[in-house]
Point group: C2
Chain length 226, copies 2
DNA sequence: CATAAAGCTATAGTATTACTATCGTTATTA
DNA sequence: TAATAACGATAGTAATACTATAGCTTTATG
């Protein structure tokens, strides 16, 4: 698997970077270290200056790849969703049963990170923590409509559409497939967050991913009536 | 109703302000205008300086009420959840059927703002838009555990507990009442947001609140098995 | 192999933000 | 009337999120 994936690149939409970081050593280094630093400091305390120091370069260099901290975060999150999509396609390939495919999708959304499916310069576990804690900030801004037009949310929307299509396959009469899928995606994130930080808002214990899968699977299948 | 409410104050936990803005004209003015300005500019572009200019005072005065912009936002959101709780208690009073009470709770969470239940210095419609677009930022920070200990999320947790208790009443065997309720609360917000800004992620049309209620009601009742 | 172009480093500078501090004036209350 | 709380005016600071520019390397191309 590792060998196979070594030749695969996760494609991220052009609008979320100025210069593709995947085309140079420096660029990959920026991505790699930004994931670790955002995870460590949180988005608010993370700055390009600190990142530049960490990787032994200057702010100017980073600005050549990403227009702003917001754009860098968008890049990371787009990368994440493209990666999930790739894993979804891979994991559901040749599986006939739509129910089974939906279960796989829920598992992936709930955050089972398989260690054999990783990329050299990306710490997927840290990246997932960033997605859980920071991704809402990418769209909860006054610039959301501009960013949407520019394609910042393409990967996320594509992933959701794929899963919604499975829901439609199972029950074509169900009226809210897109809403249900985006609900599962968002819920997976903040239920994880709540289990760590606001436990009274959830029944999922810290690190009990199976409970999250059970909660979501039950909710989805009962809702679509299967 | 208006007369009755004129004598009722929404109580907000002490830790989310330095000086209770509800005890002075200036304080109420700060709250009133901050709601309008955050709604207009978004949290990122909102500053105490701009707010001070708008209400004809100085930053120093605002800092006497709220330690920071983050604390002011926490105050507004706490106020919102206390207000929702008040409305929930009022609307479900004397209703025997737990199913009926749960439906009312979903309606309130979905954002039916009743105009006869308002408070002079609070524009509840603008406040709800703030809650939809900004409330996740209150807890998605590295300081969440400290803030939680200080009681920043009391109102939200209390509201959710109340609704979760209704779920337990309907089906004591259901394993995830707290998760389901926080899911409904969060879902109500971003499905609204998606319908306005990322419509491909939802099946709810802009301004069709009834669709949101239908989506959530169906999901909840099928999930808890009623 | 020369040369241009691309990419990177280093440095400097700016407007704004999110505060903190101080002090004199005004309003309230005892 | 005296005390005290609240407010306004002004000043200042460290950090942030950039922008600009100039010179130096590395890489690609002819």
């Amino acid at each position: 698997m590792r060998n196979l994936l070594a030749n695969i690149k996760i494609k991220v939409d052009e609008k979320v970077y100025l210069k593709n970081p995947d085309t140079s050593e420096k660029g990959r280094h920026i991505v790699e270290q930004s994931i670790l630093l955002i995870d460590e400091l949180g988005l608010e305390s993370f700055t390009f200056k600190k990142l530049a120091e960490k990787i032994g370069t200057t702010e100017a260099t980073i600005y050549r790849y990403f227009e702003s901290k917001h754009m860098l975060l968008s890049y990371l999150i787009s990368w994440y969703w493209s990666w999930l999509e790739y894993r979804l396609v891979f994991a559901t390939n040749n599986i006939r049963s739509a129910e089974e495919r939906l279960k796989i999708a829920i598992g992936i959304l709930s955050g089972k990170v398989e260690l054999d499916m990783n990329f050299a310069h990306v710490d997927e576990v840290a990246l997932q923590k960033i997605v859980v804690a920071e991704s809402a900030k990418v769209y909860l801004t006054k610039e959301v409509d501009d960013n949407n037009r520019e394609g910042f949310f393409y990967s996320y929307k594509r992933f959701c559409k794929r899963v919604a299509d499975i829901v439609r396959e199972i029950n074509p009469a169900y009226k809210f497939p897109a809403s249900l899928v985006s609900t599962v995606a968002e819920t997976a994130h903040y239920q994880k967050f709540f289990s760590l930080h606001l436990p009274s808002l959830t029944n999922i214990s810290d690190n009990k991913e199976s409970q999250l899968v059970e909660f979501l699977t039950e909710m989805v299948f009962k809702t679509i009536g299967k």
